[in-house]
C-alpha cells in the first residue's frame, strides 16, 4: 500500500480530526508533526553512479554537496514511484556521464574540471546525448528539479542540510509571524480601501 492510502486508512480508522479536535493554539512549527520521514531505503545506485550524479548535482546547483543534495536524490529515487519510473533513467544517465567523460577526456565525470563537466551537462540539457531508450532532456529537467528540492526543501527529507538553502535565499519558508498582524493593527495603518 502506498503512503497515501495507508494514511487514509489510519485516519479513517482513528477518526482523527473529528469535531472538537481543532487545536486552540497553533503550533508555530507545524511541520514538527508532519508525516514521518521517508525510510532511507536502499540506494538504487552503485558507488560509481552515485559519484557521477553527485558531481552533476554540484554543477547544476553549486553548493549542492554541502546541502546534502546527492543523498537527498538517492533517498528520493529509492522510493515509490520514482524507484520504478525515474531511478533507471538516472542510473543510465550516470553511466552516460562517465562514458561521455571517458570518450572526450579519458577520465570519469567526477574527476573532470568544472568546465569540462559543464560542457557535458550542456549536451544533456540540449538533448544532444543519444542512447537507446534514453532521453537526455527530460533527465536533465528532473535533475534540476531534484537539485532545487534538495537545496530548498524541508531538511527533514535529508537535503537543505542545516537549512543552508533557506539561509542562502534569506527566506524561511516555515516562518510564522504573528508580529506581522500586530504591527498592522498597532499602527492603525489606513488601508487603501
Amino acid at each position: 500500500m502506498n503512503r497515501f492510502s495507508r494514511r487514509a486508512w489510519i485516519c479513517g480508522l482513528l477518526g482523527l480530526g473529528a469535531a472538537g479536535l481543532w487545536p486552540r493554539r497553533v503550533r508555530p512549527q507545524g511541520h514538527a508533526r508532519a508525516p514521518a520521514p521517508l525510510a532511507p531505503g536502499r540506494s538504487p545506485f552503485d558507488a560509481r553512479q552515485r559519484r557521477a550524479l553527485a558531481a552533476a548535482c554540484e554543477r547544476v546547483l553549486p553548493g549542492a554537496g554541502e546541502a546534502g543534495v546527492p543523498g537527498y536524490l538517492d533517498r528520493q529515487l529509492a522510493r515509490e514511484p520514482f524507484s520504478r519510473f525515474l531511478a533507471p533513467t538516472f542510473g543510465r544517465a550516470a553511466e552516460l556521464l562517465d562514458s561521455q567523460a571517458r570518450e572526450a577526456h579519458g577520465q570519469v565525470f567526477a574527476e573532470l574540471p568544472a568546465e569540462a563537466q559543464d560542457a557535458i551537462l550542456g549536451r544533456f540539457q540540449a538533448g544532444a546525448v543519444q542512447a537507446q531508450g534514453f532521453q537526455a532532456r527530460p533527465f536533465f529537467e528532473h535533475l534540476v528539479r531534484f537539485c532545487l528540492e534538495g537545496f530548498l526543501g524541508d531538511p527533514r527529507h535529508g537535503g537543505n542540510r542545516a537549512e543552508v538553502g533557506w539561509r542562502f535565499i534569506g527566506h524561511h519558508p516555515c516562518w510564522w509571524s504573528p508580529r506581522r498582524i500586530d504591527s498592522l493593527t498597532r499602527r492603525g495603518r489606513a488601508l487603501p480601501y
Binding site: N2, R3, F4, S5, R7, A8, W9, C11, G12, L16, G17, A18, A19, G20, L21, W22, P23, V26, R27, G30, H31, R33, A34, R59, V60, L61, P62, G63, P81, L121, Q125, R137, F140, E141, V144, R145, L148, E149, F151, L152, G153, D154, G165, W166, F168, I169, H171, P173, C174, W175, W176, S177, P178, R180, I181, L184, R189, L191, P192, Y193
Partner: protein, 562 residues
C-alpha cells in the same frame, strides 16, 4: 456485519465544496447524514509548509498509476494517462488547498445563449434559474464559511449585502496596480478571499504567512469547508464523515428511486448503505464517472443517462497569465519599506467580464486576478529554469534565486475566462485505464473553441498593459500562458435545465430520471462563468439542500428509523 445493512437518510458522496454545504444543511434540518469521502481526513497539524511533501508529491492527489485519469486534447487520437483533472482527494476536497479567491457569477452568466443569440460551434444554454435566485445563497455561503472583502467597489458585480469580514491587508504594491489600471480606464477592486481577516466562529485570523494555494492552512483561517462547515455538521451529532471510502456505484430500485450507495471502505472491502436521498458531489469529472460506472441491466449507459448527456458539455476555465518583475528597492523607494513582506496583492479586474468593446466575436470574457508570485522557493527556482527553457542552471541559477528573493518583486495576473462548451469536450469511461480498485478511469476529452482562445489572448494583452503601465516601470514584463486551460476548475458534465431531453438534472439539481438523486458539485453548470466557481458551488449546494430539506419537512421523503 452491521454495516452491511446500514441505512441513513442521506448519503453525500464527496466532502468538498459541493458536498459539505448539503451535508451541513440536511444534518441541521434533522436528517441523518453519512458523508463518504475517498481521501484522508487531515487535521490542522498535517498542514505544514513542507513544499516537497505538500505540493510536489501525492498529498492531495494520488499518483497516476494508482488513480489515473486519461486525457485527449484536441485532435489527438489516443488518450494518455494523466494526473490532470483531479482537484483534491481529502476531507474538504479542493477547498482545503485552494487559494480562496472568491468571485460571484454575474447576471450575464445565466443567459449566455440568449444574450449572444448563439455562437457557431458552441453548445450554449441558459440556466433555468437566474442570479436573483442564487443571490441569497451566495450571502449565506459567505457568512457560513467566512469571506473577507469590501462590497461596493466592483461595479460589475451584483450584491446587496456587505461581506461578513473586512478585506485582508494588501501588499503596498496594490497601489501600483490600482494606479496603472485606473490610468487605463479600468476599475480595480479588492479581491474577496475565503480567508479570515478577523477572528470568526472560533477560528483565528489569518497570520499572513502566504501559504494558501496548494497548502492546507495550519491556522484554520482559510475558509475551507474542512475548517468552516464540516465541524458544525459533525457537532450536530447527525453527520458522520467516513474518510478513505470510495463510492463505486449508486443503486436504484425498480421505480428508479435512489436506493443506496455501494462503496469500498478503507480496507478495500465492498459495503452497501441504504439512503432515501443521495447527494453526489465528487467533482464534475468524477461525478459523471460514477454515474457511468453505475450502469446496470436497466440503465446500460449509466444512471440518469437515458439522454446520453452525462459527461457531455464538460467545461473547464480558460487560463492565461503574465508576469512583471520589479526592482524591490525602487518599489520601496516609492511606497516606503513598510510591509513589503505582506503576501497578498488582493486586486482584481472584471472590466472584461462582459465587454462588447473587447474586439472578439464574443463579448464574454472573465476575470483578471493580480497577485504576488507564490513564496514557494522550489517552485520559484523551477519556474525560472523552465522560463529559460532549462538553460538556466549552475551559478547563474543560484544567482537568479538570490535576486528573486533579495532584489525582485514579481507581480502577476491570472486570467480566468469562459470556457465555451463544445462537442469535443466531454467525460466518458476509458476503455483501458483502470484505477487501483480495477474500476475504469474517467477519460477527459478537451477541445477549445477558437473564440474563447481569442478572448483569452485579448485579456492577457490587457493584463500586460496594466503591468507595463506600473510605476516604477518593471524590469521585465512577459506573458507566461495564454489560450490555456486550467483543469482545477471543471463544470458542466450533468447540466441542469427544465427540458429533460436536453439536461441531466432539473432546476433543483435532482436527476430527471432518478428520483432523490441530486448532484451538487459544478456538474450542474450549463456554462462555466468567467471566474473560479467555488462560491457558486457552495451557494448552489446550500440552495439545493434547502429544497431537499423542504421535501423532508413536507414528508415527501420519509425519514428512516433512527
Amino acid at each position: 456485519m452491521a454495516r452491511e445493512r446500514e441505512s441513513v437518510d442521506v448519503v453525500v458522496i464527496g466532502s468538498g465544496a459541493g458536498g459539505a454545504p448539503a451535508a451541513l444543511t440536511l444534518a441541521e434540518a434533522g436528517a441523518r447524514v453519512l458523508i463518504l469521502e475517498k481521501g484522508p481526513y487531515y487535521s490542522l497539524g498535517d498542514f505544514t509548509h513542507d513544499e516537497v511533501s505538500i505540493c510536489r508529491r501525492d498529498f492531495w492527489v494520488p499518483w497516476e498509476h494508482l488513480d489515473p485519469h486519461t486525457i485527449r486534447k484536441g485532435a489527438e487520437p489516443e488518450a494518455r494517462v494523466t494526473r490532470e483533472g483531479w482537484v483534491s482527494q481529502c476531507v474538504g476536497g479542493g477547498t482545503v488547498h485552494m487559494s480562496g479567491f472568491f468571485y460571484r457569477l454575474h447576471a450575464e452568466d445565466f443567459r449566455l445563449a440568449t444574450l449572444t443569440g448563439g455562437l457557431d460551434g458552441a453548445e450554449l444554454a441558459d440556466w433555468p434559474i437566474d442570479l436573483a435566485e442564487l443571490e441569497p445563497f451566495y450571502d449565506l455561503a459567505e457568512v457560513r464559511v467566512g469571506v473577507s472583502g469590501q462590497a461596493g467597489l466592483n461595479p460589475f458585480e451584483v450584491r446587496k449585502r456587505p461581506f461578513p469580514l473586512p478585506p485582508l491587508h494588501p501588499h503596498p504594491a496594490a497601489a501600483l496596480v490600482d494606479e496603472a489600471a485606473r490610468g487605463l480606464g479600468l476599475t480595480p477592486f479588492p479581491t474577496a478571499r475565503a480567508v479570515l481577516s478577523r477572528s470568526y466562529g472560533g477560528r483565528p485570523p489569518c497570520n499572513y504567512c502566504g501559504f494558501c494555494g496548494e497548502y492546507g492552512c495550519e491556522n484554520g483561517s482559510k475558509s475551507s469547508v474542512l475548517a468552516s462547515l464540516l465541524p458544525p455538521a459533525e457537532a450536530s451529532g447527525r453527520c458522520e464523515i467516513r474518510a478513505g471510502c470510495m463510492a463505486s456505484r449508486i443503486e436504484v430500485d425498480g421505480q428508479d428511486r435512489v436506493q443506496g450507495v455501494v462503496y469500498l471502505d478503507a480496507q478495500g472491502v465492498e459495503r452497501r448503505v441504504q439512503a432515501r436521498v443521495v447527494v453526489l458531489a465528487a467533482s464534475a469529472i468524477e461525478s459523471a464517472r460514477l454515474l457511468l460506472l453505475s450502469a446496470d441491466g436497466r440503465h446500460p449507459h449509466g444512471l440518469a443517462n437515458g439522454t446520453g448527456l452525462v459527461g457531455k458539455h464538460l467545461t473547464l476555465s480558460t487560463f492565461g497569465k503574465g508576469t512583471a518583475i520589479l526592482d524591490r528597492a525602487q518599489v520601496a523607494a516609492r511606497l516606503g519599506a513598510d510591509h513589503m513582506d505582506l503576501p497578498f496583492l488582493q486586486r482584481s479586474l472584471q472590466d472584461d467580464y462582459w465587454n462588447p468593446r473587447l474586439g472578439a466575436a464574443l463579448p464574454k470574457g472573465g476575470t483578471h486576478n493580480f497577485l504576488l508570485h507564490h513564496p514557494n522557493p522550489i517552485n520559484a527556482g523551477v519556474r525560472m529554469a523552465m522560463d529559460a527553457k532549462w538553460t538556466l542552471w549552475g551559478q547563474p541559477l543560484k544567482e537568479a534565486l538570490r535576486r528573486y528573493f533579495h532584489d525582485e518583486l514579481w507581480i502577476e495576473f491570472e486570467v480566468f475566462g469562459e470556457f465555451l462548451p463544445v462537442p469535443g469536450s466531454f467525460v466518458d469511461l476509458d476503455p483501458r485505464a483502470k484505477d487501483r480498485w480495477g474500476l475504469p478511469a474517467a477519460r477527459i476529452s478537451v477541445a477549445h473553441h477558437p473564440v474563447a482562445d481569442d478572448v483569452n489572448r485579448l485579456m492577457v494583452r490587457r493584463g500586460l498593459d496594466v503591468l507595463e503601465a506600473m510605476q516604477p516601470r518593471p524590469v521585465k514584463v512577459y506573458p507566461w500562458a495564454w489560450a490555456n486551460t486550467t483543469y482545477h476548475l471543471q463544470h458542466g458534465t450533468c447540466r441542469f435545465g427544465d427540458d429533460p431531453g436536453r439536461s441531466v438534472l432539473d432546476r433543483d439539481c435532482q436527476a430527471h430520471e432518478v428520483r432523490n438523486l441530486y448532484v451538487t458539485d459544478a456538474s450542474f453548470m450549463p456554462t462555466s462563468g468567467g471566474c473560479p466557481a467555488t462560491p457558486t458551488i457552495l451557494a448552489n449546494s446550500f440552495r439545493v439542500a434547502s429544497k431537499i430539506a423542504e421535501r423532508f419537512r413536507r414528508g415527501e421523503i420519509a425519514r428512516g428509523q433512527v
